[in-house]
Every structure is written in structure tokens, then in C-alpha cells.
């Protein structure tokens, strides 16, 4: 689905939590809750980070990719 398993700002949260559930814990540690009431946010990770007023969304996504890579290596 995501080519080389790379998350981008355009990645749907619904897709993200299914493919990389470990992302949820990473995002929580950064004060971003992407699932609530057990249901994922509708829209992309970019939309969510914008709503959460995260200063450097691209940087956070890079860190998330790194985290996923380490978890799966």
C-alpha cells in the first residue's frame, strides 16, 4: 500500500494504524492521539498534525518513519 512502507504527510490515518499500529504509541508520546474511542481520525497524518498545531510536521513524520524502521528491523 505505501510503496516502501514509508509514511508521508498524505498517508491516511486509517491506513497508518492498520499497517503500522506501533505508530499509535509513538504519536501518543508526542502528544498526538490518532485513535480515539477506538476509531482512527479521518484524514491524513498531515491533516491531524495541522489540527494539533505541530510545529514541524515533516520532521515528526521523518521521526515516525525512523521509529517504524527500528521497530521492524
Amino acid at each position: 500500500m505505501m510503496g516502501e512502507s514509508r509514511v508521508t504527510l498524505k498517508t491516511d490515518i486509517e491506513e497508518l494504524v492498520k499497517e503500522f499500529p506501533e505508530s499509535v504509541k509513538f504519536l501518543t508520546s508526542r502528544e498526538v492521539r490518532c485513535i480515539k474511542c477506538g476509531e482512527p481520525f479521518w484524514g491524513s497524518i498531515g491533516d491531524l498534525l495541522e489540527e494539533e498545531e505541530i510545529d514541524d510536521p515533516q520532521g515528526l513524520v521523518e521521526e515516525l518513519n525512523q521509529y517504524i524502521k527500528e521497530k521492524n528491523s
Binding site: S23, F41, G43
Partner: protein, 506 residues
């Protein structure tokens, strides 16, 4: 399992969009969704999700059906809901089993959920001969004023995974007797229960020569959900889900002056006062905090204890937690099944780390249970030094935060401090304390109970909450009014034309 799925009309691959009997819609562009058993992680069946085209077809059908359905007398509309209730009685056992299989709640809770569907159908049938309007005294001679309630239009119902069928029925049984067709977008976690329910509804529609009254559109929130909330043909969106998504839904629907019923997050507390019956309190806390693996909107997430009973109560609750049998939700004697997916497990673990960072001490549980399966966790009790930031948030998992207080006033302050306002309870044998809790200086929630836990509401009452819970009401009491259009009418049966407020315009 195969036999169960077949009994409910579920195939290996199923279209996820339906506008009536023999009207399942499929688009070759539709993406596949695999439903898995949370207990084993194994796939159950596949669903082809809605696309913009199939969504369009189903809503067009619902819209055209509305124009006919609104002209059917309400008591006749009630007959279709009566038959829906009967069909659910006939299939209560297999449908509840599918709820447990796909969502992970234990079998008695699955049966309870289908019973709720039956109960709301019974309620709605009675309602179909009521839908009362008021008669109002006019200030003008030989004038009559009254209110009447008209059907509103197609309704969009968006439900969450945790009550895969009951929440649909709370909305649908009432909406249909009110004259409104329903388009249902279920959670992507539980598409098969939705297909099973649609098959049941299709039979009812076929028996009554109907189509487009009960409709289904399974698909992603970012596709079907967004399309639905921005669709002017959908008069009302009843949304169950998170506060974050509720805000988005609310803004989108308000932009087009549509209506919403929002049933959003809860952060429910039980206050146990110094004079409480602790035997009752322990049993109530256990069910309310651990039932459905902590995945109810009304799950007890905070326990606010008077300091004089805190020590004994904590010990007794920990002992009760130790007795909880965790495992396959379909097996007899099991009290807690898995969480719905791996993401929910990660969410729980993330919240526990935050709680520890904020001074929390895990006094029971806190671990994954990989031997049972990757989605199993221990029910967890965390003693908090104060009501920190993580305690203000809803985590959809079996985490119970313990807090202590000096007196009832402090308990109420803690209780009402969180942004959510769904369900609440107090355990006390004092009439004064109970009444204070229920008064306007007491609980600020939509549901407030005395000597009963926070979960397990009956369908006869209106269900919903305040503050960030969204303010909507579903199910019983007068919640039906949200599904109808109120019209205030004045009839002049005199031969004069008096104006209101005595205005002379001559």
C-alpha cells in the same frame, strides 16, 4: 464459523453498499477491506468498500424513498420496525455470536447488545402511534395553535466498533418510524455485523415492498464519512466516535445548516463516598471498568474514593481484578476478551507510559498477554497522585485511574474537571449526598446514577452527554424529536384578522 457466517448471509467476499433487497452495489474501483477476528487475528471475510459512485447511488435511492416513506402513516411505518424486531428475535443467537466474533466482546454482552436492538424496535413501534405535538393557547379569539412533527429527510448514521449493531438500531428504529430513511456507515473494524444486519433489514423491506429505507455504505471515514457529512441531502448526521472527529463532523454539517446528534468521548467516574455499600461498589466498578475490555463509551475510567474507604476499596477491587478470566470471548465463563485491534493495544500502552511519567503507579496489570494473542491485555489499575493531563483524556482500554478525595465537594470538583460529560455515578447510602450529586451543583454529565455503575443504560431513557461529549441524545424518551421537523401552526377560524401583540395595521 463458516456455518455462522452463512446463516447470516455473509460470503467470502461481500459488497459493502446496499440500497435495498437485491440491491447490493459494487464498483470495481472499490477497495477491499478484510475483517479479522480480534481473538486470533485470522481473517473472517472480505468486503468491497463504497466508492464515490456507489455512495452516490445509495443516497439517491434513500432520497427518492424518503418522498414516499414520509407519506406512509407513522403507525404503518411502525409495522416495518415491528417486523425488524421480530426478525432480530429470530436471529438473536447467531447475530450476537457474530458481534462477539468480530468485535471481541464476551457472549453475554453480545446477546445483551442484540436484546437492545429488539427493545428499541419495541419502543419505536409504540412511538409510531405517538409522535405527539403540543396544543398551545392562542392570545387571539377563535384561533388555534399547535405543533406538528414532520419527517426530516434521509439520516446518516455513523457508528463505532464497540457497539457494532445496537447504536445503529437506537437511531434507525426511531428514525424510520419518524419517516426518515437511514444510510449507515459502520466502523471499518466491524463490517460483517453491518452486512448481517442489512440482510435482516432487506428481508423486512422485501416483505413490505420497500427499498431505500435501510441503507448501508461501508467505507473509510476519509471517503464515505467525509462525503456524507458534506452531503446536503443528508438532513441529520448521528455520529458516534471521538471528540476530535465530532468537532470535524459538527463543523462540516453546520456549514450547510444540517443537524447533528453527537455521541462523543466519555471520561466517566464513579464517586465512592465514605458511607457507601462497598459490596455493591466493588461489583459495579468491576463491570463498569472491565466490561467490554474497557471499550464502552460509558466505561468507568476514574474512581474517586473518599480517603476513609480508599484503602479497603482498592484492596477489594484489586482482588476482584485478579478473578477476571481473560480469553476467547465466545467461551463460557470468560469475562474479558481482546481489544479490537493492535492499534488499541498500542494506544493503551502509550497512555500507561504517560500515566507513569505523570506520577502514576500501576498497582494491577499493565501488561500485554501475548500467550493469549496479540490483542490481549491485562485490565489495569493505576493509582494517580492527582488528576493529571492523561487522566483528562479518554483512552479506549481497560485502564482505571484511582483518585482520593477528602469530601464530597472535592470529589465533585474532580469529577467535573474533565472536558467530557457522558456518564457518572455515586455510591452512597446518604440521601443528602445522592441528591447533591444529582442536583445542578452535582454531576455535569448527561447520565447520572446512584448505586449503579456508569455503563449499561436502558433504551427507554435518552442516551448522551454534555460538554465535549457533544450534547446529542439518542434512543428513548423524547430523543425522537431530533429526527423530525417541528412546525408551529396557527389557524384562524374567525371572520376577523386580529394581529398578535394587539398590533393595529390599518
Amino acid at each position: 464459523m463458516k456455518e455462522l457466517l452463512e446463516k447470516l448471509g455473509i460470503k467470502e467476499v461481500n459488497p459493502g453498499v446496499c440500497a435495498g433487497p437485491d440491491d447490493w452495489l459494487e464498483d470495481s474501483q472499490g477497495k477491499e477491506l478484510i475483517s479479522t477476528n480480534p481473538t486470533t487475528g485470522e481473517p473472517l471475510a472480505k468486503v468491497i468498500q463504497a466508492t464515490e459512485n456507489t455512495y452516490e447511488e445509495v443516497v439517491s435511492q434513500a432520497e427518492s424513498s424518503f418522498y414516499e416513506w414520509r407519506m406512509t402513516p407513522a403507525p404503518k411505518r411502525g409495522l416495518a420496525v415491528r417486523d425488524l424486531g421480530q426478525a432480530l428475535r429470530d436471529l438473536k443467537e447467531p447475530l450476537s455470536e457474530l458481534v462477539s466474533l468480530e468485535m471481541g466482546k464476551i457472549k453475554p454482552e453480545g446477546l445483551g447488545e442484540v436484546q437492545e436492538m429488539i427493545d428499541i424496535c419495541d419502543f419505536a413501534v409504540g412511538l409510531s402511534r405517538q409522535l405527539y405535538g403540543l396544543t398551545i393557547q392562542s392570545e387571539r379569539s377563535r384561533h388555534r395553535m399547535y405543533e406538528q412533527w414532520h419527517p426530516l429527510g434521509p439520516i446518516g448514521v455513523v457508528t463505532a466498533f464497540n457497539f457494532p449493531v445496537a447504536v445503529w438500531s437506537w437511531n434507525t428504529a426511531v428514525a424510520v418510524v419518524c419517516g426518515d430513511p437511514v444510510v449507515w456507515k459502520p466502523s471499518s473494524e466491524v463490517p460483517l455485523t453491518a452486512i448481517a444486519v442489512q440482510n435482516i433489514a432487506n428481508k423486512v423491506m422485501a416483505d413490505h415492498g420497500l427499498k431505500g429505507i435501510f441503507n448501508l455504505a461501508i467505507g473509510r471515514g476519509s471517503v464515505v464519512g467525509e462525503q456524507m457529512i458534506n452531503d446536503r441531502r443528508i438532513s441529520l448526521i448521528s455520529f458516534t466516535g471521538s471528540t476530535k472527529m465530532g468537532r470535524r463532523v459538527s463543523e462540516a454539517v453546520a456549514k450547510r445548516f444540517g443537524r447533528t446528534i453527537l455521541e462523543l468521548g466519555g471520561n466517566n467516574a464513579i464517586i465512592v463516598d465514605k458511607d457507601a455499600d462497598l459490596d455493591l461498589a466493588v461489583r459495579a466498578v468491576l463491570f463498569a471498568a472491565v466490561g467490554t475490555a474497557g471499550q464502552r463509551c460509558t466505561t468507568t475510567r476514574r474512581l474517586i474514593m473518599h480517603k476513609s474507604v480508599a484503602s479497603e476499596l482498592t484492596e477489594r477491587i484489586v482482588n476482584a481484578y485478579k478473578q477476571v478470566r481473560i480469553g476467547d470471548p465466545l467461551k463460557d465463563g470468560i469475562l474479558m476478551g481482546p481489544l479490537v485491534n493492535q492499534a488499541a493495544v498500542e494506544d493503551m500502552m502509550g497512555a500507561l507510559e504517560k500515566a507513569k511519567e505523570q506520577g502514576g503507579e500501576v498497582i494491577y496489570g499493565g501488561n500485554r498477554l501475548p500467550d493469549l494473542g496479540e490483542r490481549f491485555v491485562e485490565p489495569t489499575i493505576v493509582k494517580m497522585p492527582s488528576q493529571t493531563e492523561i487522566v483528562h483524556q479518554e483512552t479506549f482500554a481497560p485502564i482505571l485511574y484511582l483518585l482520593e478525595c477528602e469530601n464530597l465537594d472535592e470529589a465533585l470538583t474532580l469529577h467535573n474537571e474533565v472536558p467530557q460529560g457522558l456518564s457518572s455515578a455515586i455510591f452512597t447510602t446518604s440521601l443528602l449526598s445522592a441528591e447533591k450529586f444529582l442536583s445542578h451543583e452535582g454531576s455535569d454529565c448527561g447520565l447520572a446514577n446512584v448505586n449503579i455503575g456508569t455503563s449499561g443504560a436502558e433504551i427507554g431513557g435518552a442516551f448522551g452527554g454534555e460538554k465535549e461529549t457533544g450534547g446529542g441524545r439518542e434512543s428513548g424518551s423524547d430523543a425522537w424529536k431530533a429526527y423530525m421537523r417541528r412546525q408551529t401552526t396557527t389557524i384562524n377560524w374567525s371572520k376577523e384578522l386580529p394581529l398578535a401583540q394587539g398590533i393595529k395595521f390599518e
